[in-house]
Symmetry: C2
Subunit: 156 residues, 2 copies
């Protein structure tokens, strides 16, 4: 799995740069890491084919694209079997407002991250996910007051 061993300092530098800004041209990146454009390009292409770089995506400004309200919900299931867990997660991940869904250890069984347009969407979501027939014993809602850090990049 880990391909860190096959990577040198320049690969790591490239990955760090591209995690910050992947819109830079190959020529630009090559200049910064001190390689020729062709050589730099071969590295980035190799990093993509090997899967170290999963994909290149556009990150939107949530405030300018709607869905401003964020919340975390810790869910405790009634039935704790593997199949019950999977069933609940399958339902949860189909919801557009659910951006993250994790099975976790501890007091609760599942943690969901929500991105909501408004509280009405929260209300209707709760009705769909946390009703009697969905195997939910209890759930604890944590509205996110402030986002101090939200970092998808992996430091290398």
């Amino acid at each position: 799995m880990g391909m860190l061993g096959k990577m040198d300092r320049i690969d790591r530098k490239l990955l760090n740069l591209m995690q910050r800004d992947a819109s830079r041209t190959n020529v630009d990146l090559a200049d910064e890491v001190g390689l020729s454009p062709s050589s730099c390009l071969r590295r980035t292409q190799r990093l993509q084919k090997s899967g170290v770089i999963d994909r290149i995506v556009a990150i939107l400004n949530p405030a300018k694209a709607g869905r401003v309200i964020k919340a975390l919900v810790a869910v405790e299931l009634k039935l704790h079997g593997e199949q019950h867990m999977r069933r609940f997660l399958d339902i949860a991940i189909t919801e557009e407002a659910v951006s993250h869904a994790y099975a976790v250890t501890g007091e609760t069984d599942v943690v969901l991250m929500l991105r909501l347009r408004d509280m009405e969407e929260f209300d209707s979501l709760c009705e769909r996910l946390f009703r009697d027939q969905t195997n939910v014993a209890r759930f604890f809602t944590m509205m996110i007051i402030r986002t101090a850090k939200e970092e998808t990049a992996i430091r290398l």
Copy 2:
């Protein structure tokens, strides 16, 4: 803030496509949304300048880049004032293993998302963040067993 009103169907289509794969060429995108390359390019440039597109980044495969272990930690502070909250968050966000940090409502005050190389890193992190002098009353660790969904894209 919300600039959704000024966007038409093609803008939304472009944003959805670019959130999935921003490595596609402008020519390719133009073809898919049914515009000429020049016109399509002007749209994507406008979306970037207006800030709807915050940035273009490379997403790495965590398993192939280290930091395989993920955990959520709910933290309850001793002192709940605004300045105490800020002080704790300021310390937390400087930690590389802390990928997300939120101030939240509910039983606890702060939720952290951790990305760890190994449990030793978790141990040392706890010593730095959750000691007496860091204003932490209690903390609840939830190791992430399974990631059912992890979506940064915003559906439009």
